[in-house]
Amino acid sequence: MDLSLSDRERALARHLAVASRWLGIATLTCGVGLLLYTAVFLVLTVPAVGPVAGVMWILVGLALVGLALAWQGTRALEAGRAFGELVEMPWSGMVAAAFGRIGAYFMVDACIFLAPIVLAVAVCGVAIVGGLQ
């Protein structure tokens, strides 16, 4: 359904488009930076001393966070594009697309913050069950 946005609403959508794009670029940069850091660390340490289990697990965690941040950044960029299109051609589907994509951006935070907690609880659970057996 087509919408007729006022100048104020168009200006807000334009602000959101710019903010989402910048946040997307920043998040994508963080993700790619973390992946590069992991790769450089691997290249520097593994040939010298071989794989150390504890360090490897930390690096796997960092790489996963880097991937999640990179994906999160692309969602914000998509949201920025959707808000930009909302300014040009306002319709209800584009409102849903823009808010849905920015929702996906915020959802990744839950994965990043909750994954270590879920993992720790799972490891504790396995250890307790193992101890009982």
Binding site: M1, H15, A97, F99, G100, G103, D109, A110, F113, L114
Partner: protein, 120 residues
């Protein structure tokens, strides 16, 4: 009389799903907000960042909730939702700056310590 926004069923489903997950994300982000008794400056920075992330996510979730509620599907609510979302994005940017500075410091410290340990 403001214009009413009619969402397609699939669009409404996307928005409802986004709102629920954002609520989970916001509440989940509150968990790392509590620093330990002997927390370092970096841990305090990460806790502050997590608090800001939680606040921004819950604000964005609230904006979406208002937009998809039965009495909220008009341009007035869309405008309010966009204002809330803009505030949420600003908060998120500040949170990212705090978390990134804290994390870079922590990762650089950890990396240097591990490299020194491996070299010795």
């Amino acid at each position: 009389m403001s214009e009413v926004i009619v969402f397609e069923a699939s669009d409404a489903h996307v928005l409802r799903r986004a709102w629920r997950w954002m609520l989970v994300a916001g509440l989940g982000s509150l968990l790392p907000c509590i620093p330990g008794d002997d927390a370092s400056a970096v841990e305090h920075a990460v806790s502050l960042g997590a608090l800001l992330v939680a606040a921004s996510t819950l604000l964005a979730a609230w904006s979406l909730r208002r937009l998809i509620s039965d009495d909220g599907r008009d341009l007035v609510h869309l405008r309010r939702a966009m204002v809330h979302l803009r505030t949420a994005l600003v908060l998120k940017a500040v949170a990212m700056a705090v978390v990134v500075i804290g994390s870079v410091f922590a990762i650089a410290t950890m990396g240097t310590l591990v490299l020194l340990q491996l070299a010795s």
